[in-house]
């Protein structure tokens, strides 16, 4: 919404510096985004954080002038010479403005043309260059005629982008007066909150300013001159559904002549972002901007013709399902059955409150006009707007709630403006059908309510005083204020909601900045731990401590993108995704099901940047569940590593790359941090992983997830640059955490030395290290504290298909030093068990 300062001043006295006014509007909830200053000096000094831009017209150089005669240029057809009086003297001014051509060679004019005149040395914008480029007006000779000054266009003066012709001011513009005193202005761009649509008009804004400044509001004159013939006899109004159309007001004006509107009207429309059309159309738009009521003008003669010469009847009704109407922009709309139409006995005329129909729209030669001002159910209207995809100034206001009172005010104002700008005669009175009266709510609020909500002490009189400034009708009884909302706003509720609404109005007018700041001083709520959050942090911190980089990915993906984690032959079919109705792009049409896919996408994005990458992510995946409205959002942890095992350095010789056991080490350390003990890694097959380098992780017998080297066919689905082997894991974080004990025991540090023994054996390849360790642990007894594999050897000496494994066994007693005999006994038992239970051969110590 654009606030035109000169226009605002018609309704309220404001004499604040521009930054101060911008600040006060903002502190009322009407946030000023920027200020376009027209002609006046830009504020200097404290701008209170607002941006001001515009061109200053200094009083010596820019004045209102009059052109008394337009003469041809001796050497150029397109140029004219104007005899101009600027209040100090007469000048001959050269111009190429097309809108002065029609006066050329007509001799002295009966009625001088008022223009904006810039003298030699003026600083203004170059009208011929794109954008706004400042230039200084210099003496020049154009086709043999000397030119020192000029008649200006709006663009040259920084008013608008219009450079079609020079500005032709209204006849009453005072010749010789500095231009800034006549046209100087400021336009504030304001963003109006959804609950303050009452402020999307000059009067609406003036009301707020008046309230804030505690100044009276001057309403424009609403009386109508005496008319000829009764409006009531000229049209009937029938409202079929008052819920959807509570009020319909119509006025009739005959014999109007559509002509250009006064310059001031055109200028205000332009500054408000609307295009002037003619004095009839402009009047409807002007009044909408002035009072906030959208209006619609019908060609009355078309209505009469459609009624076969009889008195037309306007009928408002909902559309038939699929009913078709062509709007005045030539678009054919197929309507839904909730959309309200303005129709007559012959059929539809317009979409109520949204857009007029083609047939009954007014044309430049229309003379008799039926003017509509109606109120509509804003919820229903918004629904129609959304469906029809129409954006209009009228729709914007009506879809947020315009009070029915405004329907009459708008029609009255508009009829007056039409008479003034387009001539014609009114029909007597208005046709007003108002079947569903809007009850302005009455709310009782106490001083205790204000204290309880806002935290300030105000007396009932003070509360009433603030509300009265906003035109609430208030009654004070003891500590209670009973306030009735004024007949221009629809945002006040009843009961407890109404009290909140009033509290907001009181706080707003009292000033948020005056409300004290108090720390929370009530008793703390019961403290509840948040295990989920603590778990997230534990996982993150543990993985980070092992040198992994955390990533956070888009949750959006598409099935093809995600299916890259499978070889071409193994893509799952018919998997259910959380799918978007309105994806932002076709490749982001679902929410992810696989966190591994997210991390691999990130690995791919970075593969060419680094010779070493170790990434992880924790986060939800989204799994639709049959017969359940919302999907499950289980948390997973995914890890991906590729490239050099150690960061390279200038002298580092080890150029080994990450392999399965680096990844497994990370997973093991994570498990250690979670203090889970019953852990199994088993060789397993999973389509995403290398068949020989993949393990399933089980904790307490429950499957947690897989880890392994990506299957080469999966790696081939990505562009990992030079990285050919990628280690990856995808684990169920929820399950893993649920299996980790909340408390765990520590082991005492014993002062007695351990006995360390090495045990080497030859085993066939088919026996896994895990099996051997299981047997050692099972027979080692409580003295055996640690079993650690320290060497694997394969070679001819031990035979093909065999491997030699060497373990370091640590025995320790908590209360004494162990002797060889005790350890020897354990060793013999372990050897016996190994050779008996497994097909291994323990190598005897030398």
């Amino acid at each position: 919404m654009e606030l035109v300062l000169s226009w605002l001043k018609e309704y309220v006295d404001v004499d604040l510096p521009l930054p101060e006014l911008a600040h006060r509007l903002t502190m009322l909830g009407l946030e000023v985004e920027d200020v376009h200053v027209i002609g006046k000096p830009l504020p200097t000094g404290e701008n209170k954080g607002f941006t001001f831009h515009g061109l200053e017209w200094d009083k010596d150089h820019f004045v209102v002038a009059q052109v008394d005669e337009v003469m041809p240029h001796p050497n150029a057809d397109r140029l004219v010479l104007c005899r101009l009086i600027d209040g100090q003297g007469e000048h001959t001014v050269l111009t190429g403005a097309p809108n002065l051509q029609e006066y050329k060679g007509k001799g002295p004019l009966d009625k001088p043309i008022k223009v904006a005149y810039a003298k030699e040395g003026s600083r203004l914008y170059d009208g011929h260059k794109p954008g706004f480029e400042l230039t200084t007006l210099k003496r020049a000779t154009i086709r043999g005629v000397e030119s020192t000054s000029m008649i200006c266009s709006e663009k040259e003066l920084g008013i608008s982008e219009d450079h079609e012709g020079v500005m032709i001011l209204d006849d009453d513009a005072p010749t010789g007066v500095p231009l800034v005193d006549y046209l100087g202005d400021a336009v504030f761009s304001i963003s109006i909150p959804a609950n303050m649509v009452r402020c999307s008009s000059m009067i609406g804004l003036a009301r707020e300013v008046a309230a804030y400044l505690d100044q009276p509001l001057r309403m424009p004159d609403l009386t109508l001159p005496k008319g000829e013939g009764k409006a009531n006899d000229a049209v009937k109004i029938e409202i079929r559904n008052p819920e959807l159309n509570p009020r319909f007001v119509a006025g009739l004006i005959r014999n109007v002549e559509a002509r250009p509107s006064p310059y001031m009207v055109q200028l205000r429309l332009k500054l408000s972002g609307m295009r002037p059309i003619n004095s009839v159309v402009d009047a409807t738009n002007y009044v909408m901007l002035e009072a906030g009521q959208p209006l619609h003008a019908f060609d009355y003669d078309v209505l009469v013709k459609r009624a076969d010469g009889k008195t037309p009847t306007i009928i408002t009704r909902t559309a038939e399902q699929g009913e078709i109407l062509t709007t005045l922009d030539g678009v054919e709309h197929k309507l839904e059955d909730y959309t309200v139409l303005v129709a007559d006995t012959a059929g539809s005329l317009s979409i109520g409150g949204i857009m007029g129909g083609e047939e009954s729209e007014i044309r430049p030669n229309t003379t008799n006009i039926l003017l509509e001002g109606a109120s509509w159910n804003f919820i229903n209207l918004r629904k129609s707007l959304k469906y029809l995809r129409i954006n209009s100034e009228a729709g914007y206001r009506l879809s947020r709630g315009v009070h029915p009172t405004l329907a009459e005010i708008g029609v009255r104002l508009c009829l007056r403006r039409m008479l003034e700008w387009s001539g014609g005669q009114l029909a007597e009175g208005l046709v007003d059908n108002y079947p569903l009266h809007y009850e302005d709510p009455t709310v009782a609020i106490t001083t205790a309510d204000i204290k309880r909500l806002i935290g300030i002490d105000l007396t009932a009189e003070e509360i009433a005083g603030l509300l009265r400034r906003l035109m609430f009708v208030c009654e004070v009884k003891g500590d209670t204020v009973t306030a009735t909302a004024p007949a221009h706003r629809m945002d006040i509720g009843t009961g407890v909601n109404g009290r909140a609404d009033l509290a907001e109005e009181v706080a707003r007018l009292y000033g948020y900045e005056r409300i004290p700041s108090v720390r929370l001083d009530s008793e703390l709520p019961p403290l509840r731990s948040n295990p989920k959050e603590e778990r997230n942090q534990l996982f993150q911190d543990t993985l980070v401590s092992m040198g992994l980089q955390e990533v956070i990915s888009y949750r959006f993906t598409n099935p093809d993108q995600e299916n890259r984690i499978y070889p071409p032959e193994s893509k799952p079919q018919g998997v259910a995704y959380v799918e978007l109705q309105n994806p932002i792009a076709v490749d982001r049409n679902v929410l992810r099901r696989s966190l591994l896919a997210s991390v691999l996408d990130n690995l791919e994005r970075n593969a060419r940047q680094r010779e070493r990458l170790a990434l992880f992510e924790i986060g939800p995946v989204f799994l639709p569940v049959k017969d359940q409205l919302l999907p499950d959002e289980p948390m997973r942890v995914a890890i991906a590593m590729c490239g050099l095992r150690y960061p390279s350095a200038w002298d580092r010789k080890d150029k080994g790359t990450f392999d399965f056991f680096d990844l497994k080490g990370v997973v093991e350390s994570l498990l250690k941090a979670l203090h889970v003990t019953d852990i199994q890694f088993e060789a397993d097959s999973n389509p995403s992983f290398h068949p020989g380098k993949c393990a399933v992780l089980r904790v307490n017998g429950e499957k947690i997830g897989w880890l392994g080297e990506l299957h080469p066919q999966v790696t081939a689905n990505y562009d990992f640059g030079d990285h050919t082997r990628v280690q990856a894991a995808d684990l169920d974080m929820d399950k893993l955490f649920s299996l980790s004990p909340k408390y765990f025991e520590t082991n005492p540090i014993t002062a007695f030395p351990p006995v360390i023994e090495d045990l080497a054996m030859i085993a066939p390849e088919s026996i896994s290290s895990a099996e051997i360790v299981r047997v050692i642990r099972a027979t080692g007894g409580f003295l055996l504290k640690q079993v650690e594999l320290f060497d694997i050897f394969r070679g001819e000496q031990i035979g093909a298909g065999n491997k030699s494994l060497a373990y370091r066994l640590t025995y320790q007693a908590p209360n004494r030093t162990l002797n060889d005999k005790e350890v020897g006994k354990q060793r013999d038992r372990i050897i016996a068990a190994l050779e008996k239970e497994l097909d291994v051969k323990v190598r005897k110590a030398e």
Partner: protein, 347 residues
């Protein structure tokens, strides 16, 4: 007499010879050899002791005493010399080990949290110190929780404030804010008083550019109790701003509109980049819009199970990415989820 003096003379000559030789030695092994030669079991000085019987009885003590003096004098010299030789050998060793200390160090593999994890934790930590606990809720939400229960009925104009991702399941959306957590936490904790932060990923259907993302982290506050006022809202958020942006930072509250709060406000923080003078970071306003807030709307309290005639509350919402962008001068919001390591490793 000649015999006596000859032993003494011999000793004197021996001492002189030993000292002369010692002076020329530079290595530990030479010193060891020297010790063997002059002070060892079969060394020259010891031979003098063995030859004592050759001397007359009465002269023997004098000679022995002199021989001992020579011996200890030589041992002392040796010790001195040994220290000097060791010191110079060490010196030589150390200087041979000199490094070019300007060569680059070997980097350990350092892991990092994602910057948004860090900033979210930081914000949560500040609120934790004020007694706020973390509460999480789903990212895919029902229309009810995301809108209806928050006083945003279907077709209400306030719905225009959120560009929503709809799923193909009717009435299921990607949450446009963490506010559904307000209802969920109220329903979970009712009738206790509440002080929670609701962090999490939210979604908006909009074209992405340097300042707009379809996915972003929001963090909301919710306080519900019997004596919570707008003054508490101001006090709490001002304290947060001071801890987050600096003790001296100025804040201002101005009226705004959100359907689930009333009165509603916007808290601006004086631009900490330019100190309020105006700069590109604050759009030359001098103020940064940090958070929308307000007293919890009675309808929302009621929907959460709290009687609005008895309970009041306040809520506030912050954009975590916005805080990071301001603080680290990040000029493109899309950097966060692109996860380019060249970006992530800067933190």
């Amino acid at each position: 007499m000649s015999e006596k003096s000859s032993l003494i003379t011999e000793l004197e000559a021996l001492q002189q010879q030993a000292e002369q030789e010692l002076a020329g030695l530079t290595s530990e092994s030479d010193l060891q050899n020297w010790r063997t030669q002059f002070l060892g079991r079969s060394a020259m000085v010891m031979q003098i002791f063995r030859r004592l019987p050759e001397a007359p009885q009465e002269e023997r003590p004098g000679i022995g005493q002199f021989a001992n003096q020579v011996k200890s004098a030589l041992e002392e010299k040796l010790a001195e010399k040994m220290d000097a030789v060791k010191a110079s050998a060490l010196q030589e060793n150390l200087s041979g080990e000199s490094l070019d200390v300007t060569l680059p160090g070997r980097s350990p593999s350092r892991g990092r949290l994602h910057i948004q994890t860090k900033v979210t934790r930081e914000v949560c930590h500040i609120f934790a110190e004020m007694g706020f606990q973390v509460f999480q809720s789903p990212e895919v939400e029902s229309d009810d929780y995301n809108f209806e229960l928050l006083n945003i009925p279907a077709h209400h104009p306030a719905r225009d404030m959120w560009d929503t991702f709809f799923t193909t399941e009717e009435n299921v959306v990607l949450r446009t804010h963490t506010s559904p957590g307000q209802i969920r936490s109220m329903r979970a904790f009712h009738p206790d008083p509440i002080r929670v932060v609701l962090p999490g990923m939210c979604y908006r259907y909009e074209q992405t550019d340097a300042n707009h993302e379809i996915q972003f982290n929001q963090l909301e506050l919710l306080v519900v109790g019997k004596d919570i006022t707008f003054a508490h809202l101001k006090g709490t958020l001002e304290e947060f701003a001071k801890r987050m942006f600096g003790r001296d930072v100025r804040t201002r509250f101005r009226p705004s509109y959100f359907p689930f709060t009333e009165p509603s406000a916007e808290m601006d923080v004086e631009c900490f980049v330019c100190g309020g003078k105006g700069c590109p970071a604050c759009g030359s306003k001098g103020w940064l819009e940090i958070c929308g807030c307000g007293l919890t709307h009675p309808v929302v309290l009621k929907n959460g199970g709290y009687d609005p005639d008895v309970y009041t509350g306040f809520a506030a919402g912050l954009g975590i990415e916005r805080i990071s962008m301001l603080r680290y001068r990040i000029d493109d919001i899309r950097n966060f989820w692109r996860n380019d390591v060249r970006f992530l490793e800067q933190f």
